[in-house]
């Protein structure tokens, strides 16, 4: 799409926003630590989409394009002109969404630790697959890599997690079975 009247551009953007905002917001919430950061990522992503509307692909490809933009924003941190009104969105997210990590509630600390220790590209693809429920082909489009490389990274990420969790489980078992100092005495 190129050119078009102001009204047409706005209509196209609003349609795009309406169709994809929920998914991209969910992605932003899951990959940031605060409602402010999530609102920042969403705002910056769609601001880029607005500025580059002529190059945004049509149809479902637009959704993957937006994921790619949001991913880049997450990688470099949002940078906007401070004219976006994200305060209310951040407030509403803070009211309605629990953006804390399960780790902070003492849930699955082993999983979070293992996840943090994954190499970046592996972590990136396994979170896109597990949390955003994207297929390897969609992830390949978003990350600009081949499907096979995505599969390699997914495979290795699963294996890493499995190995780490198994080690942690074994450690826990050993700790439970180990005699305390009182028992040893």
């Amino acid at each position: 799409m190129s050119g078009g009247s102001s009204t047409e551009r706005e209509a196209r953007f609003e349609q795009l926003f309406k169709e994809t905002r929920s998914e991209i917001l969910g992605y932003a919430v899951r990959r940031t630590r605060s409602p402010e950061d999530a609102a920042d990522v969403l705002g910056e992503t769609f601001l880029i989409a607005w500025r580059k509307l002529d190059t945004v692909p049509s149809g479902d490809e637009a959704r993957l394009w937006l994921y790619g933009v949001a991913r880049n924003v997450l990688r470099r941190g949002p940078a906007h002109e401070n004219t976006l009104d994200i305060d209310r969105l951040a407030f509403e997210l803070g009211e309605a969404v629990d953006t804390s990590r399960p780790e902070e509630e003492n849930q699955t600390p082993e999983l979070w630790g293992a996840l943090e220790r994954l190499p970046g590209p592996q972590r990136d693809v396994i979170l896109l697959a597990a949390w955003e429920e994207l297929t390897p082909r969609e992830i390949a489009t978003i990350t600009g890599s081949s499907v096979n490389l995505v599969r390699v990274r997914l495979h290795r990420a699963r294996a890493h997690l499995k190995r780490e969790l198994a080690n942690r489980s074994a450690d826990n078992t050993r700790r439970r079975l180990a005699p305390t100092s009182d028992q040893a005495a």
């Binding site: 917001l25 976006l84 082909r137």
Partner: protein, 296 residues
């Protein structure tokens, strides 16, 4: 939620269950705030060149910048302070790493000579006449070298040979199917003989000594051991059942390996990105049309 041994075996499922903000509640307040945000965005001057003037402090939940820095240091993935990244790392998989990533020596996919080393490594794996491009495809697309891989991307020699084995097997299945449909009985018999032996190829047994099509797998994945998917194709070929072979191909049976291995089909998929959202049966129908057009 403590880690239990049963969940250790299914880390992907555990990760899915730990998905934060799931489902995302789109309250009336969030809806209204999103509408305001959209208005705020479209109030911006429409200019692709509008500059970014402020960078805020930002804390990503999952730090992905570490590898970005590593990639930058690698300057395209080939040069280090110590010199050129070697294709063979000198490190061999052992213990649990063999299950995870295959046997053999770890190869650096970002090494400049990864492609030539990969082709040499696969030279004993047979492809049918006319399918040389499929072997090259493994290197140029499926196992990309420095163009896409980062310094941390490694593949074992065993896994890489496995990729070639999967590619070659799929090529032989295509060759058999086409020979059968065109009445070339000699070629069909030769292809069937090769396909029959494929589960015993060293590249296969090194990774999967006992291929099974029914062994349980990760949630969301097809059942079967790593090369268990060969067996239904093999059975159909040995039964002379081209319809079943076509059905298996069209359904992407084997986690889509015969689609990934096919340069022409992969090109068609790239040319039609919207197909990635099609339902399985609709995509399968396109594959049938593709076969009818290219390999009648």
């Amino acid at each position: 939620m403590p880690i239990r041994p049963s969940t250790v075996e299914r880390p992907f499922e555990l990760l899915r269950r730990a998905r934060p903000a799931s489902p995302l509640p789109l309250t009336a307040g969030i809806d209204a705030a999103l509408d305001e945000l959209a208005q705020s965005i479209t109030a911006e001057t429409y200019s692709p060149l509008a500059p970014h003037v402020e960078r805020r402090r930002f804390r990503p939940r999952v730090k992905v910048v570490v590898v970005v820095a590593a990639v930058a240091l690698m300057a395209g993935g080939v040069a280090t302070a110590a010199g050129v990244l070697p294709v063979y790392s000198g490190v061999f998989a052992s213990g649990g790493n063999v299950d995870a990533g295959g046997p053999g020596e770890n190869m650096n996919m970002a090494a400049p000579d990864f492609g030539s080393a990969a082709l040499k490594l696969s030279s004993d794996i047979p492809y049918p006449a006319g399918y040389a491009a499929w072997r090259d495809w493994v290197v140029t697309e499926q196992a990309p070298g420095p163009g896409q891989a980062t310094a941390g991307d490694q593949v074992t020699t065993g896994a890489l040979r496995g990729w070639f084995a999967a590619s070659a097997f799929c090529a032989w299945v295509q060759d058999w199917r086409q020979a059968t449909l065109t009445g070339n009985t000699t070629e069909a018999a030769a292809a069937a003989s090769t396909i029959s032996a494929a589960p015993n190829w060293s590249a296969v047994t090194a990774e999967d000594p006992n291929p099974s099509a029914l062994a349980p797998n990760d949630p969301g994945a097809e059942p079967g051991t790593l090369f268990g998917w060969l067996l239904p194709y093999r059975s159909a070929v040995l039964a002379g059942d081209s319809a079943t072979v076509t059905h298996l191909l069209a359904s992407g049976y084997g986690d889509g390996k015969c689609w990934l291995a096919d340069p022409q089909w992969a090109t068609a998929l790239k040319a039609h990105p919207s197909w990635s959202r099609l339902a399985a049966h609709a995509l399968g129908q396109r594959y049938r049309w593709f076969l009818a057009d290219t390999r009648p």
